[in-house]
């Protein structure tokens, strides 16, 4: 009887798919489906577009800083101006000014001559001095040397100064532009790769400023961070995964680690400021303190990576080793840990890459000081790559805008290399059991 009843309902519910109302309804449902699909695609494309704009704007504003305009001039290193015994001492400033004056004999008024010297970077005299110190035989001869021009002329050469704007709104007046064009016409102007960006330390003058101090600072800080967080993170991860009893204490530690991973970075900076610098009396601005702070932030990442990698080692390996009479420690140290190392390394590199880009805690411990020398060790004052970017972004000189973008490109390049290495490690050593 039930069967007939069902048949009956089936019969009465027969659907006429050609019914216009139904066709419309199905069409509407499919339209909604498409709309959701389009909305999702638009959202995804927006995200990708943002990434593209971000990268493009950085490259666009930063590319000019990878070259630096130089002027080749003849410097007459007269014996009277340089002390032959101490080639480091000498009136190099005068020699540089003289070289320009001989190049522009038509410039006679004192005011103009002073402006003329402004073509060259303030560092030109030191470059000349270093050349003479390296080779004292140059004293008494004429040295032909390419020296960097100052920031406004660099901008002019790169086409970033609009010659059509009224003279008073320009950073260079017509007369100065004419000088530069004369040099250009004589073929003295060149634009080699800006090696100073990587070799020099920080400077007030954009054309001399470089990243070497920041790169070394970041290197030392990451070194300290690695030395501390790698062994400690592995030990903690292994303990929690392999040895820890399941009780309230280990639960507390777990919650703690998960929470530490989400604590704002600036809070770690406050901790470092009070505890490391205040209570322990460690030096400000030192990569040592920076690295210790970063290691506290990297620890959760390494612990979590260790736990995942250790968990992925199949129990059969543990059982086999235990069955052969190995102690628990021997199993972990001799078998589980070696198999988990690739996974741990991948997590560590990713954690270090994140630490490399971390800025706020380093600002609080004073790694944003103006330091014109690369650090010699972990106790020296220094900046780090992200804090150097912060300093340059804050600097008023126009030339620092391009250099900030260039520094960001350098930072991103390091991050890409580190993450790429992590991906390679994962691909190369990934094992499916």
């Amino acid at each position: 009887m039930t069967e007939t009843a069902m048949n009956q309902t089936g019969a009465t519910r027969a659907i006429d798919w050609a019914d216009p109302a139904l066709v419309q309804r199905v069409a509407r449902r499919h339209r909604k489906d498409r709309m959701l699909r389009v909305a999702g695609l638009v959202a995804l494309l927006t995200a990708c577009l943002m990434l593209a704009i971000l990268m493009a704007s950085l490259l666009w504003s930063g590319h000019s800083a990878f070259t630096q305009t130089h002027v080749t001039l003849d410097f007459e290193v007269a014996a009277g101006k340089v002390n032959a015994d101490k080639p480091g001492k000498g009136n190099y400033r005068g020699i540089v000014a003289e070289a320009l004056k001989t190049r522009f004999p038509e410039v006679t008024s004192r005011r103009d001559q002073k402006a003329l010297v402004g073509i060259l970077s303030n560092g030109a005299q030191y470059i000349l001095r270093d050349a003479v110190v390296a080779n004292p035989d140059l004293i008494g001869t004429t040295v032909t040397l390419a020296v960097p021009v100052s920031d406004p002329y660099d901008q002019l050469a790169k086409g970033q100064i609009d010659v059509d704007t009224p003279e008073e709104n320009r950073r260079l007046d017509d007369r100065e532009i004419a000088w530069f064009h004369k040099l250009e016409a004589a073929g003295s102007v060149s634009r080699p790769l800006n090696l100073a960006l990587l070799v020099n330390a920080d400077s007030r003058f954009p054309e001399l400023a470089g990243l070497s101090g920041a790169l070394w600072g970041s290197f030392y800080a990451l070194l300290v961070c690695f030395v501390i967080s790698f062994p400690v993170g592995i030990a903690a991860g292994i303990y929690l995964e392999e040895f820890a009893p399941k009780n309230r204490w280990t639960d507390l530690i777990e919650v703690n680690i998960n929470n530490l991973a989400a604590v704002p970075s600036v809070v770690f900076g406050l901790l470092a400021l009070v505890a490391f610098i205040g209570w322990f009396g460690m030096p400000r601005s030192a990569p040592l303190v920076g690295g210790m702070t970063l290691s506290l932030m990297t620890l959760p990442t390494i612990i979590i990576a260790t736990r995942i990698a250790v968990k992925a080692v199949p129990p059969s390996i543990r059982d086999a080793a235990l069955g052969l009479g190995a102690s628990k420690h021997q199993v972990v140290m001799g078998h589980v840990l070696p198999l988990a190392v690739p996974g741990i390394l991948t997590g560590t590199i990713i954690g270090l890459a994140r630490a490399l880009g971390e800025t706020a805690p380093l600002l609080l411990i004073g790694m944003n000081a103006f330091i014109t020398q690369a650090p010699d060790g972990i106790m020296d004052s220094s900046t780090a790559l992200p804090t150097q970017i912060f300093i340059w972004a804050d600097s008023p000189e126009r030339g620092f805008v391009a250099r900030t973008s260039a520094a960001i490109c350098v930072l991103l390049a390091f991050l890409v290399v580190m993450n790429g290495f992590a991906v390679y490690l994962r691909k190369r050593f990934e094992r499916r059991w």
């Binding site: 699909r37 995200a47 943002m50 040895f243 704002p264 600036v266 209570w279 706020a360 992200p386 912060f390």
Partner: protein, 458 residues
């Protein structure tokens, strides 16, 4: 110098290891049956020599300078220091320190020069003493371990006990860090609340963190009510979420349900890249591109937009949060059991209907957890707002105006200042405490929600 010391410890431990392992092996070779493998006897030597030496050096380094300076300051001529307060003494200490480092400015008094000289001498003595003591510890450790080598000695158990202790210590470091954060923040905050009443801080509507330079200055007395700072933080957070939540969720839906494997393979790394960009880069992007663009857009529309409008900082922060929210949504959607999806599709629902009516509602708890974590991250985010948001705390909810945030205030109050003895710098720690508490609560709730949700379908 220190590097050499650690090198010495390393070499000595290594020597001890090989020496004792060799001895143990000789014992085995001569027919004895040892309880522990030879390697464990070697490792025991390391536990007894290198480990205590290392710990000793660390402790020494923490206390060396303090002790030496206490001796120096105690030896200063009493007639010179009697009239000085703590600030004056610390000035003298800094001066002596810099003279000792070879940086002499002007002509210091002879007693300062003498103090600096004895500081240098004491440091040299301490260095020598440290070396000698460390060598002593190393030698004693290796010798004691050597004396213990015998067939019955359970070296393995000893070594494993040390190793276990080390591992427990490392795991406890996580708790220690949290305790350190809480202790340092509360300690400095209490000092702040000594000077500024806590109620004024919590409910005050004015934030002007200044300190009077002269005691009788009228306008210089600052105001420390954090409400405008809090409101500013919330305004920027809301802007960020308005950008991030729809884009993040919709792109996760697309990736999860509609995207072909090829699109997925391309979009996922792009989102990961967006997540891996350091926040300082976003901050520079905000001032380089977004803020000027918003301003010119405002000019076209005839709306006045402040140069560091909350929209710029918030919008860029939203971009930063997109991958965060999208990956949490993706995980939550992927965790919904297949049977739910198949059931819905079998009943004739379209894929879109399955998503909006079945999968998405089932995934909501996980998504909410992700959004809460995103809120916590937005509140604690520092570099974007330091670069792109304002410094003046105006009490407004208009995102076109310039507002400031908790993190901006912390950074600006503390940059370049190391003396925490005035309300201005101490205020940063009170703000830090608030920031820590708020994000802690959000994190704990969010992690709880996510965890519970995972258990639901496991």
């Amino acid at each position: 110098m220190l590097g050499y010391l650690f090198l010495v410890i390393l070499i000595a431990s290594g020597l001890g290891y090989f020496l004792n392992r060799f001895t143990a092996r000789r014992l085995t070779a001569s027919g004895h049956r040892l309880h522990s493998l030879a390697g464990f006897h070697g490792a025991f030597a390391v536990c007894l020599s290198g480990l205590p030496a290392f710990v000793f050096v660390l402790l020494w380094l923490v206390f060396q300078d303090r002790v030496i300076e206490a001796i120096i300051m105690g030896d200063l001529p009493a007639d010179q220091t009697a009239a000085l307060d703590a600030g004056g003494l610390s000035l003298i200490r800094t001066e002596i320190r810099s003279i000792a480092a070879g940086k002499i400015f002007g002509t210091p008094e002879p007693w300062k020069l003498a103090a600096a000289e004895s500081l240098v001498n004491l440091r040299a003595t301490a260095e020598l003493a440290l070396f000698v003591v460390v060598l002593g510890i190393l030698a004693a450790g290796v010798l004691v371990a050597r004396g213990k080598i015998s067939p019955a000695f359970r070296a393995r158990q000893r070594v494993e006990k040390v190793l276990s202790g080390f591992m427990v210590g490392c795991a406890l470091l996580a708790i220690l860090t949290t305790l350190g954060i809480v202790a340092s923040l509360i300690y400095e905050s209490l000092r702040f609340f000594d000077r500024v009443p806590i109620l004024e801080f919590l409910f005050g509507l004015n934030w002007e963190p200044q300190i009077p330079i002269r005691a009788d200055q009228v306008a210089g007395a600052g105001a420390f009510g954090w409400i405008p700072v809090l409101v500013g933080t919330l305004v920027i957070t809301v802007v960020a979420l308005v950008v991030a939540i729809p884009i993040g969720i919709y792109s996760a839906i697309y990736l999860n349900e509609f995207a072909s494997p090829r699109v997925r393979a391309m979009a996922k790394p792009a989102l990961e890249l967006l997540a891996g960009v350091p926040t300082i880069v976003y901050g520079f992007f905000a001032i380089l591109v977004v803020a000027p663009a918003l301003r010119s857009a405002g000019e076209v529309l005839g709306i006045g937009v402040a140069p560091n409008t909350a929209l710029a900082a918030g919008g860029v922060m939203g971009i930063m949060l997109i991958p965060f929210i999208s990956s949490f949504t993706d995980d939550a959607l992927a965790a919904v059991p297949r049977s739910l999806r198949d059931g819905s599709l079998a009943l004739g629902a379209t894929r879109g209907e399955t998503m909006t009516k079945v999968l998405f509602p089932a995934a909501i708890p996980g998504i909410v957890g992700g959004v809460l974590l995103a809120v916590s991250r937005a509140i604690g985010e520092t570099m974007i707002v330091v670069m792109a948001a304002g410094l003046i705390a105006t009490l407004t909810i208009n995102p076109l105006e310039s507002v400031t945030t908790v993190t901006v205030q912390i950074v600006t109050l503390l940059i370049g200042d190391s003396e925490f003895d005035n309300p201005k710098t101490l205020a940063a720690f009170a703000l830090g405490l608030m920031l820590f508490l708020v994000t802690l609560v959000l994190n704990v709730i969010a992690l709880g929600v996510v965890r519970k949700y995972r258990e639901l379908y496991d």
